[in-house]
Amino acid sequence: MARGLRLSSELIAGVLVGAVLGWGFDRLLSTSPFGFIVFFLLGFAAGVLNVVRSAGIAPDRSRQ
Amino acid sequence: MAESHGEAKGTASAHTEAEGGHGFPPFQKETFPSQIVSLVITFVALYVIVSRLALPKVGGVIDARQKAIDGDLAEAQRLNDESEAAMKAYESELAAARARAQAIGAETREKLAASSDAERKALEDSLAAKLAAAEKSIATTRATAMSNVRGIAADAASAIVQQLTGKAPAGKTVEAAVDASLKGTA
């Protein structure tokens, strides 16, 4: 359970930050909803990156 | 569990602002400022206590222990070195003493041999001297005895001749005759 919570929190955090950034981007430049979509996807990518890193599959730069 | 969790989350996000005390507690926004303020005050207090008092104290104790251990180890090493050095010094001294003893022994042996040689020689010399003296004294004794014998023989001869002939022979003739007979026997 601990591991699952850890990995899911990584993914959720990535997606959430992406979504917030996209929303802010849209608010500032009134590009809604494209900013949100793009950043949401990027956030998903970042979340996957986080998960992969914290699962120890990909080399983690910050641990070296 | 998951159900109540999700449900509570939903109600919390929907109603937090409207209904203060309900919903899922960790997501009630109106409690956030109180918690942040509490956390800031307590955490800053903790940080100050930890960084100013607690850590220097514990760190100091640990450092002091480490230093004591290092000091003790260094001391033990020093003592060990010292005892090793003492051992080495003792061994070298022992070797030197042994060598000296051998030298002294050899010297003594030589000296003794020399002195006994000298003694023997002196003894032999004195014995030879005594022998020579004895031989000499024998020779003189014999010569004296011989001359006594000649006197006695001459006297006896003249007495015998006087008995036989009735008149004393001339001393010189008797002595010559005695000498001649002595030479013949001797």
Binding site: F39 | S34, L46, S51
Partner: protein, 247 residues
């Protein structure tokens, strides 16, 4: 059914003051935060100074050495600048987690705002110290080496999002673990009382959830330590980024 969420309620004890329109209350959460601080400070300051430590002093020194080693291995000797911060974080989370396992207590770290504030503290420390120490070189953190120039902008954006997601995952992990653990414990414990009320058969049946509750309490003790440790080691890793961003 006993409400498993009830344990997370904040109860106002008295009002400290107001910031703007917002009432700042002294709650049970505040009390448990204070309790954690008092416990840590009392433990550390009461520990002896003996050359050969007793049990109590050993515990204090063990925690000191543990955090110091964690920080040194993750962030290098330079990271020791942050030793008081990391030690405070670890002890605060660890003690409040452990206190929270005791029945009828309140778990400070089961509130997202608390864990998020702590994570934000680490995050801001990393950013401020990173720029203070490295200047613009701190941006190297977002530019991994060995990436083709074509997809580099995309990677940089992903890295930035990943970087900003840190305080969230950092705090959600601790919060979710504590919350889920305490809810599970409460649910199983309530099964015991519910089954226990159903006569003899129920009492026998209650043994199973009782055993599970005991086992879960053991697990939660481990989780309390583990999550404090995970929070600490991630703090160390993030601080390492602030100190050596080029890696």
């Amino acid at each position: 059914m006993i409400d498993p969420i009830h344990q997370f309620h904040l109860n106002k004890i008295f009002t400290i003051g107001h910031i703007g329109n917002q009432e700042i209350a002294f709650t049970n959460s505040t009390a448990y935060m204070l309790l954690a601080v008092v416990l840590i400070a009392g433990m550390m300051l009461a520990a002896g100074r003996a050359l050969v430590p007793g049990r109590f002093q050993s515990v204090v020194e063990l925690s000191y050495e543990f955090v110091a080693n964690t920080l040194r291995t993750s962030a290098g000797s330079h990271g020791m600048t942050f030793f008081p911060l990391v030690f405070s974080l670890f002890m605060f989370i660890f003690v409040s987690n452990i206190v929270g396992i005791i029945p009828y207590t309140f778990t400070v770290s089961s509130h997202i705002i608390v864990t998020f504030s702590l994570a934000l503290l680490v995050f801001l420390t990393v950013i401020i110290y990173g720029f203070y120490k490295n200047g613009l070189k701190f941006f190297k953190l977002f530019v991994p080496s060995g990436i083709p120039a074509v997809i580099l902008p995309l990677v940089v954006v992903i890295e930035i999002i990943s970087f900003f997601s840190r305080p969230i995952s950092h705090s959600v992990r601790l919060f979710a673990n504590m919350l889920a653990g305490h809810v599970t414990l409460k649910v199983f414990a309530s099964f015991v009382t519910m089954l226990g009320a159903l006569g003899f058969v129920g009492k026998v049946g209650a043994l199973l959830p009782l055993g599970l509750t005991v086992a879960l309490t053991g697990l939660e003790l481990m989780v309390a330590f583990l999550q404090a440790y995970v929070f600490t080691i991630l703090t160390c890793i993030y601080l390492n980024d602030a100190i050596h961003p080029g890696h």
